[in-house]
């Protein structure tokens, strides 16, 4: 094969409009596809973050007591937990104010110096009991769980910091970078009394799936406190294979225990899989939308290249015949069109790289976007050049089959 760049460039200068059109299309596609892929990967990474819980066979209940006694809910909750724990197929159950991916909960500053103006970090507070670690399937990597006698019942309006807390490892490491958090004290409610870290769990996410908690996504505190009040959640761990049946049994049994409650049809009793699904619906939707945009753009670009090259091959049949008559082999002709496409593609990706970076910078300043990794641009460049070569292959092969006798056909 004998392909040289200079005469191809010389010929392209005479076809500026088509060349520019395709190069710009490639540039735009690169800019958009790089950024879209980056967003897709970010969203999917967000969706893939683990909560720290064992999510299979986990069932959630969001409960609201109504009528008299709703504000002093201690006996009602205790009755509910007793009911839940004796249902066949239930391994354990806990009462907790919120849980990962629920979307709402408590966040407070954590500090080691009670007089410090500024907290070391924010963290979420889970008001739990001694069954929480087992029910959620958390991995206790240091210290111990709460004892039953450590659980206190408090009014949400005037909660007092507990003497003992369990923290997530991420929080422990943040507050005590030396790695020795166990037995140390922190202040989690302003300058109230200190709480001693009695246990560390490997991982526990905050309840937020959006960007709100991005800076403290795994900073969680478990408190041996049950909040009295009309609203509350239960988490129920089931035996394998029993979850579907329990989705019906649990609300029925709860209603049998106490009818004075509201369990909403949509969020009342759900499997944790449903909770996860709902929490990341927009992220998934965004990723899907971006994927569709990418696929459509790439398809349009490929179609544009096929179209323009086919047109050029048709237009140049005679000169292809002349080149063949002058000694070009079939692979010379094939190489001509592949190289021509590669040159246009290279011009496109050079401009496209600048546009991709520009578009990303614009989004960084106007939206909550991170800086685009150059890996995406590099992969995009290679992908677009390959798509270009793939798209041009069929018309280029057609060109290579033009007979040299075309040169002699009278005009």
């Amino acid at each position: 094969m004998n392909v040289q760049i200079q005469p191809i460039l010389a010929a392209l200068k005479r076809h500026k409009a088509g060349t520019l059109l395709i190069a710009m299309q490639i540039a735009l596609t690169l800019a958009i596809v790089c950024n879209a892929t980056f967003i897709i990967r970010e969203r999917l990474a967000r969706v893939a973050r683990p909560t720290g819980m064992v999510e299979t066979h986990l069932l959630t209940v969001q409960n609201r007591f109504v009528g008299t006694g709703a504000t002093s809910s201690e006996p009602l909750v205790k009755a509910d937990l007793a009911t839940l724990r004796q249902i066949p197929g239930v391994v354990d159950a806990t009462a907790i104010n919120s849980y990962p991916l629920r979307g709402g909960g408590w966040s407070m500053g954590v500090q080691t110096d009670p007089d410090a103006r500024k907290a070391i970090t924010a963290a979420t507070l889970y008001f739990a009991d001694d069954h929480a670690v087992a029910t959620m399937g958390l991995k206790l990597i240091a210290g111990r769980n709460f004892r039953a006698d450590e659980i206190s019942w408090q009014d949400a309006q005037k909660v007092e910091a507990p003497g003992e807390i369990i923290v997530s490892k991420a929080l422990a490491d943040k507050v005590f970078p030396d790695g020795h958090a166990l037995g140390r004290t922190v202040y989690i409610m302003g300058n109230a009394r200190p709480s001693t870290i009695i246990g560390v769990v490997e991982r526990l996410q905050t309840p937020w799936s959006g960007t709100f908690a991005d800076n403290f996504m795994e900073h969680s505190v478990l408190l041996p406190i049950q909040l009295t009040g009309a609203f509350g959640s239960y988490l129920v761990r089931t035996e394998p294979g029993r979850l579907d049946a329990l989705l019906k049994t649990v609300p029925a049994q709860l209603m049998k225990t106490n009818r004075m409650r509201v369990l909403r049809d949509d969020t009342g009793v759900r499997s944790f899989a449903e909770v996860r699904e709902a929490a990341y619906k927009t992220d998934r939707g965004m990723a899907l939308l971006m994927t569709v945009v990418c696929v459509v753009l790439l398809a349009i670009t490929a179609a544009g290249i096929v179209g323009l090259t086919s047109f050029w091959v048709g237009q140049r049949r005679r000169q292809i015949g002349v080149r063949r008559a002058l000694g070009a082999t079939r692979s010379d002709i094939l190489g001509y069109f592949l190289t021509e496409n590669l040159l246009i593609g290279l011009a496109g990706v050079v401009v496209g790289t600048a546009m991709a970076v520009g578009l990303n910078l614009w989004m960084v300043t106007h939206f909550e976007m991170h800086r685009l990794s150059m890996v995406y641009v590099a992969v995009g460049v290679v992908a677009l050049l390959l798509i270009g070569q793939g798209a041009v292959l069929a018309p280029a092969l057609r060109a290579s089959r033009v007979s040299p006798v075309e040169a002699t056909r009278s005009v």
Partner: protein, 237 residues
């Protein structure tokens, strides 16, 4: 140099079979200048395209420079076209996207020739046809006669041993035609074998030998060009 024996070429379409050449015999010796004449549709172009390896034939044998060409694959045929044959077409067939210089360069690049040698040959060839000053012009900016001279420069640059010309002056006025003819004669004197198809009896008369084709067959009219010129006129009429 060029020897065809009992050669035939059939064009098949769904409805008809056309014998463009039948029992076609010709022997062109090295260094000859042969003019091919004949009425329109008699098979002159077909003969030239087969001679130039632009097309395959249906039956018979064809030896080019001692090689039986029907055995050659497409790449080998391309190589022979590139190295041994120079083409001059009635329609000039310059590549409109390339300037004069780049046009003359095309066959040299396919030969894989190095830059400095290419440049030397291109400038020499353009010098010969008197168009060195137009190297940067595009074909559309040149007259027909100039375009054909560029085409001749392109054919010459590779120093081919065989020059095939299909009505090279067909699109030119008399004066331009004369210029082109003088150029061909000069090239011939330097040793190239030339086969030229022409309608013009006056030009045919200037060749060493005339071959007349009627209905896809060679009709030998002997060595006397004057006699031949009359015959050609008679047939065309």
């Amino acid at each position: 140099m060029l020897k065809m024996t009992h050669l035939s070429k059939v064009y098949r379409t769904e409805v008809v079979e056309t014998y463009a050449l039948r029992d076609f015999n010709i022997d062109v010796k090295e260094g000859e200048f042969v003019a091919v004449t004949g009425p329109s549709g008699s098979g002159k172009t077909t003969f030239l395209t087969i001679a130039g390896l632009l097309e395959t034939f249906t039956g018979g044998t064809y030896h080019l420079d001692g090689i039986e060409v029907s055995r050659l694959d497409d790449n080998a045929r391309s190589k022979i076209r590139n190295e041994k044959i120079g083409f001059i077409f009635q329609a000039f067939n310059l590549i409109p996207d390339l300037n004069v210089y780049d046009n003359v360069e095309v066959p040299l690049r396919y030969r894989g020739m190095k830059g400095p040698e290419r440049k030397q040959r291109i400038m020499d060839a353009l010098e010969r046809v008197g168009l060195a000053s137009r190297a940067k012009h595009y074909p559309a900016e040149l007259s027909g006669g100039q375009q054909q001279r560029v085409a001749i420069a392109r054919a010459l640059a590779g120093s081919p041993r065989l020059l095939l010309a299909d009505e090279p002056t067909g699109n030119l006025d008399t004066q331009m035609a004369r210029g082109v003819m003088e150029l061909l004669e000069e090239i011939h004197r330097e040793g190239a074998t030339i086969v030229m198809v022409t309608h013009d009896p006056e030009l045919a008369a200037r060749a060493q030998r005339n071959v007349h084709i009627i209905d896809g067959q060679v009709v030998d009219l002997g060595e006397d060009p004057r006699f031949h010129a009359h015959a050609a006129r008679a047939v065309d009429a």
